[in-house]
């Protein structure tokens, strides 16, 4: 238990146990971050292999089958297992600090969400070593995946089922946290934009993941237990998968991009040294994007043959999303306008993000035009479009926020100079890779092909595109080097690292103690840290309560055990169609472990523990020296 005020140097075993059982949102945030970086690196490596294959025509660097596996795993991993956990990392680490909470609403579920995600991701990646990865694309359309031989698709279905449950649990947790755990005075319309976008994106998770769960379940029972949802000879219909997948899949894009918007809405006002322009319209636009995000899924299916009426409705709804997004872009520009701009690493990512993301958005509106989409469908134009949105929007936000929030998360700093070099290498590489792919698409190059014939006018652009991909890889390596170097930097040990912090998290003296706030803060207005600084408050915080005992949740190993139970059961299900005798017992044992852990959780009281005032004072003295947090 972490209530020991003056912590002694702990052994490796104790530290490991601490991380396996922790329910602290800051530690879980760090774990999400590193798990996300790991899978980001794996998926990036897969992309690099594909770009090397496509560098020259008629290449035989990798085979067609392996190419299908790589493109499937690249897409699946990047969306589910890299971007999502990286953003969850920041949400976990920052949102409770932004709203003045000591932890999330359900710390136990927070830990469960992480372990489900991680073991699901691990399960999916075991496919590489156990007979081949999934090979039907990240969308895994039933007409392709239903009869895909081997166990690849089964790994996809079961792995995503487990990690999707984790994501849903975390989403519920964030919603409840933001509704109930806000400090006194932190009204909804004083919440920082990152908290707002976390709330909306968690609501999207809430409504988008159940259809995925259902779709994956249909696929699971169709492939492993002989059901007939997608088999048309038995009355099934493969289009059901496409609908369920995209009812999830389109909101998924907003689930990822809204927090990215939120992160940039935090970064831009700080380094423009100006209040965020149009705060309420930003909130409104966030909600509107979240709402409209559920009305547009069928624009991925224009060519399926739903008929002109359905296509027209979905085309118009899709175009309508450009309106709130445009509001946001103008608000960012008007925040920068007339500001006293300080170009730091997070800020230069933000400045690079705006034009890149606008480019991705504009091609999105082009594709929303259903007749044009018939031309562009399944071409490299699509690939260029969504990489502009995802890399230009989400990945730049993640890189920017790593620099921006590193001091709060680790009490260390990332190197600025190396950061700038990383930005330029990555940014130029990104545009080299994907800008030309628009034209490749317009010239007719289809996506998801493992090679192409020479002399169709595609050779040069593909070559340049691959060079760009190598530059992006170098950029990522530089970022990892920066992270490793940060271990050696001196601790920050002060408030408001950037000097112009506006929201509550910057008011906290670093390193952040495990209880976050020794006294619950009183929020007296929008941008509380800025407000208190303006009034000359050296502590940058007004308190809502006197110094007293602090109630904290207990650590628990049960989330890990529950997740391991499902992990074991998944192997039983995976080998069920092979007719092995042990498959059903393994399913029963795995589910039994999970259920027993749940029952244990249910009947065993967990009241948490109290940190007494003396311990709080001792902790503060240990962290900040004599006199404590002054």
């Amino acid at each position: 238990m972490s209530s020991v005020a003056v912590s002694k140097k702990k052994g490796f075993g104790a530290v490991l146990w601490d991380y396996l059982t922790t329910v602290d949102h800051k530690k879980l945030g760090v774990m999400y971050l590193f798990a996300g970086v790991l899978f980001f690196a794996i998926a990036g490596f897969e992309a690099l292999l594909m770009r090397i294959q496509l560098m020259v025509p008629n290449n035989d660097f990798i085979s067609a089958g392996l190419f299908n596996e790589l493109l499937t795993m690249h897409g699946t991993t990047m969306l589910f297992l890299a971007a999502t956990p990286l953003l969850f990392g920041f949400m976990n680490a920052i949102v409770p600090l932004q709203i003045g909470a000591r932890d999330v609403a359900f710390p136990f579920l927070n830990s469960l969400g992480f372990w489900l995600f991680f073991l699901g991701a691990l399960f999916l990646h075991l496919s590489f070593f156990m007979g081949g990865a999934p090979d039907a694309g990240w969308t895994s359309y039933a007409s392709l995946s239903l009869y895909s031989p081997g166990h690849g698709i089964d790994f996809y279905v079961l792995g995503l089922q487990i990690s999707g449950a984790g994501t849903l649990i975390s989403g519920i947790n964030f919603i409840v946290t933001i509704i109930t755990m806000r400090a006194p005075g932190m009204t909804f319309m004083r919440m920082p934009l990152f908290t707002w976008t976390t709330l909306i994106s968690s609501s999207l998770i809430l409504f988008a993941f159940p259809p995925l769960t259902v779709g994956l379940f249909f696929m699971l029972v169709d492939r492993m237990f002989g059901a007939n949802f997608f088999d048309h000879t038995m009355g099934g219909n493969t289009i059901i998968w496409e609908h369920l997948f995209w009812i999830f899949g389109h909101p998924e894009v907003y689930i990822l991009v809204l927090p990215a918007f939120g992160l940039f809405s935090e970064i831009i006002p700080v380094f423009a040294r100006k209040r965020l322009f149009g705060y309420s319209s930003m909130v409104f636009a966030t909600i509107l994007i979240g709402f409209l995000g559920f009305m547009v899924w069928a624009h991925h299916m224009f060519t399926v043959g739903m008929g002109p009426t359905a296509n027209a409705i979905f085309a118009i709804a899709t175009m309508a999303i450009a309106v709130p997004t445009g509001m946001k872009v103008f608000n960012w520009i008007l925040t920068i306008w007339g500001g006293s701009i300080k170009v730091t690493v997070p800020m230069i990512y933000a400045l690079g993000f705006i034009p890149s993301f606008v480019a991705g958005g504009v091609t999105g509106v082009m594709m929303a035009t259903a007749p044009l989409d018939y031309q562009l469908h399944d071409s490299y134009f699509i690939v260029a479009h969504f990489h502009y949105v995802i890399v230009g929007g989400i990945v730049t936000a993640i890189f920017a926020s790593m620099h921006y929030y590193w001091p709060i998360m680790f009490n260390r700093t990332l190197n600025e100079k190396l950061g700038f070099v990383t930005f330029w290498v990555f940014f130029i590489g990104f545009h080299l890779t994907f800008f030309l792919q628009h034209f490749l698409g317009l010239m007719g190059m289809p996506r998801r092909v493992f090679t192409f014939q020479a002399d169709q006018g595609w050779d040069l652009f593909n070559y340049i595109s691959s060079i760009g991909a190598i530059m992006m890889a170098i950029g990522v390596v530089l970022l990892v080097i920066n992270v490793l170097l940060s271990v050696k930097t001196p601790p920050v040990n002060r408030r408001d690292y950037w000097g112009d912090g506006r929201s509550l998290e910057w008011s906290i003296q670093l390193p952040v103690p495990f209880y976050n706030f020794k006294q619950t803060p009183l929020v007296r207005g929008f941008d509380p840290c800025w407000l208190e600084k303006q009034e000359g408050n050296k502590e940058m915080m007004t308190y809502a309560e006197p110094l007293g005992d602090i109630h904290m949740p207990n650590n628990s190993i049960l989330p890990l055990i529950m997740s391991i139970g499902l992990f074991i059961a998944a192997f039983g299900a995976l080998y069920h169609p092979d007719g092995v005798s042990w498959s059903v017992p393994v399913i029963v044992i795995g589910l039994g472990i999970t259920v027993l852990a749940m029952i244990t959780r249910s009947v065993k009281d967990d009241h948490g523990f109290h940190v007494h005032v003396e311990e709080v004072i001792a902790t503060e003295e240990h962290l900040y020296g004599k006199g404590g947090n002054k």
Binding site: A105, F106, L168, I172, N173, I175, V176, I179, T180, M181, L206, F207, F209, P210, P211, T213, V214, G215, F217, F218, V221, D222, F225, G226, A227, N228, F229, D231, T233, M234, G235, G236, N237, I240, L244, I247, V595, I599, S602, V603, D605, H607, G608, H610
Partner: protein, 207 residues
């Protein structure tokens, strides 16, 4: 943490929300139900598009398969169990621990009765050849009704755990939100069944 002893006079009006944890649980169960609604909506939509769909010349249809009397009895059992869980919550408001346990136990018994009939019904269908793998219709039917049945089982295990854990130790601000959340969940299962009765059985038999 020592638990405060209450009397019916000092017992707070909304005991389930009297603590921060209780409030979190209260909001949390409602948010969870929102996502569960979408889950059922997806399965309902699939069922509606696949019902009566099967291999060429399939002999089974909703008209030939479903029987309203059995579905009616199951509906009444579940609706009554919802009512008894309301009684339990009524006794919780009055700080009557024995009343809570008794009525929750009756809720579990009614739920078990429902589950027994559902198992009987499923066995009957399998017996006449309408198994899970028979057609798209059968897969969709068993998945929809079975998903509801799984929710019933989870609810029964949950409430049973609560009863055994709290049978001897009275009500507190720690266990009141747990009972409350379980009863909200139980109502939700009941509402879903009303839709299943309408969409699957009523619309299936009558047209």
């Amino acid at each position: 943490m020592e638990e405060t002893k209450f009397t019916p006079q000092t017992w707070p009006n909304h005991a389930e929300q009297a603590t921060a944890e209780g409030k979190n649980k209260f909001v949390g169960i409602w948010i969870f139900i929102c996502s569960d609604i979408v889950l059922f909506a997806s399965v309902f939509a699939t069922y509606l598009s696949l019902r009566n769909q099967g291999p060429a010349g399939m002999e089974f249809s909703t008209q030939s398969l479903f029987e309203l009397p059995l579905a009616f009895v199951m509906t009444m059992l579940l609706l009554t169990s919802s009512l008894t869980s309301v009684y339990a919550m009524y006794h919780m408001k009055n700080y009557n621990a024995k009343g809570v346990i008794t009525w929750m136990a009756i809720t579990v018994l009614l739920g078990l009765g429902f589950l027994g009939l559902e198992i009987y019904e499923f066995r009957h269908y399998v017996h006449i050849g309408f198994g899970y793998t028979q057609s798209a219709f059968s897969s969709a039917f068993f998945t929809l009704v079975g998903t509801h049945g799984l929710h019933v089982i989870i609810g029964l295990v949950w409430i049973t755990c609560l009863i055994f854990r709290n049978a001897k130790r009275g009500l507190s601000l720690y266990n009141a939100p747990k009972f409350y959340a379980a009863s909200i969940y139980w109502h939700f299962i009941d509402v879903v069944w009303v839709f299943i009765f309408t969409v699957v059985y009523l619309m299936g038999v009558l047209g």
